[in-house]
């Protein structure tokens, strides 16, 4: 008898309804925690990144994302902005580990 590991096992498991629920809960936890990492000010032109951090699930693909063209500035910072890192901090605050792909 020979055991051959299924190379697509993780992907197949992720598509099951139960795992889809688990993944979405994790994505929502990341989003909830990530919103705490970005500032909110009085200026109506700012503070919208919090509203753009979302957990989504479509066609088996689960994501936490910043749905904003300037989202990369919030996550990675710039010469003018510190890195608030809502996604990376959100992952850690949710008790998960971040590994960039």
């Amino acid at each position: 008898m020979i055991f051959r590991p299924n190379p697509t096992f993780a992907a197949e498991m992720a598509r099951t309804p139960r795992m889809q629920r688990v993944l979405l809960e994790a994505a929502q936890a990341i989003a909830d925690e990530g919103r705490n990492a970005v500032p909110v000010g009085d200026d109506p032109r700012r503070g919208h990144i919090r509203d753009r951090i979302r957990a989504t699930q479509q066609h088996g693909d689960t994501r936490t994302e910043i749905d904003d063209p300037f989202g990369h500035l919030a996550e990675w910072g710039s010469v003018n902005n510190p890195a608030y890192a809502p996604l990376r901090r959100g992952v850690e605050a949710a008790g998960l580990r971040f590994r960039e792909k």
């Binding site: 990675w76 910072g77 710039s78 010469v79 890195a83 990376r88 850690e92 971040f98 590994r99 960039e100």
Partner: protein, 136 residues
């Protein structure tokens, strides 16, 4: 009774890289904020997190640090790229005893080329996310 503070993760890493021969050989500055003069390369170190790892409380800390490896005005992608790879290689040798604390392990969770578009034209930058485990 004296209070024992957790390690200053930013200071530990910045001081280490500043004096590492491979990093200093690139003549890049190690900074905690954007320098006034952005004509030559620099590495900005920013702490993103400091998690308590195990009892006793706040003895061993897991630091998540972002290194923004910027090219100078004319260095472009090759300079930013090399600066990030040299800094990352130097961090691999970080475990050990330092004036700021003892490092028990390191890791990397990110290494991305993300030009800084707040410059015109965008300035080449590689962002390295490092994890450092340290205790006093």
């Amino acid at each position: 009774m004296a209070v024992i503070e957790i390690v200053d993760g930013e200071k530990l890493l910045s001081n280490y890289l500043r004096t590492h021969p491979d990093v200093s050989g690139l003549t890049a500055r190690l900074v905690g904020k954007t320098p006034d003069d952005t004509s030559t390369a620099w590495v900005k170190v920013q702490q993103l997190n400091a998690q308590d790892m195990a009892p006793p409380l706040d003895h061993l800390t897991r630091f998540v640090l972002q290194l923004d490896c910027y090219a100078g005005g004319t260095g472009g992608q090759p300079e930013a790229n090399r600066l990030a790879r040299v800094a990352r290689a130097a961090i691999r040798d970080l475990p050990g005893i330092h004036a700021e604390g003892t490092v028990t392990g390191v890791g990397f969770t990110g290494h991305a080329r993300i030009p800084d578009v707040d410059f015109d034209p965008p300035r080449e930058r590689v962002v390295v996310t490092a994890v450092v485990y340290a205790h006093p």
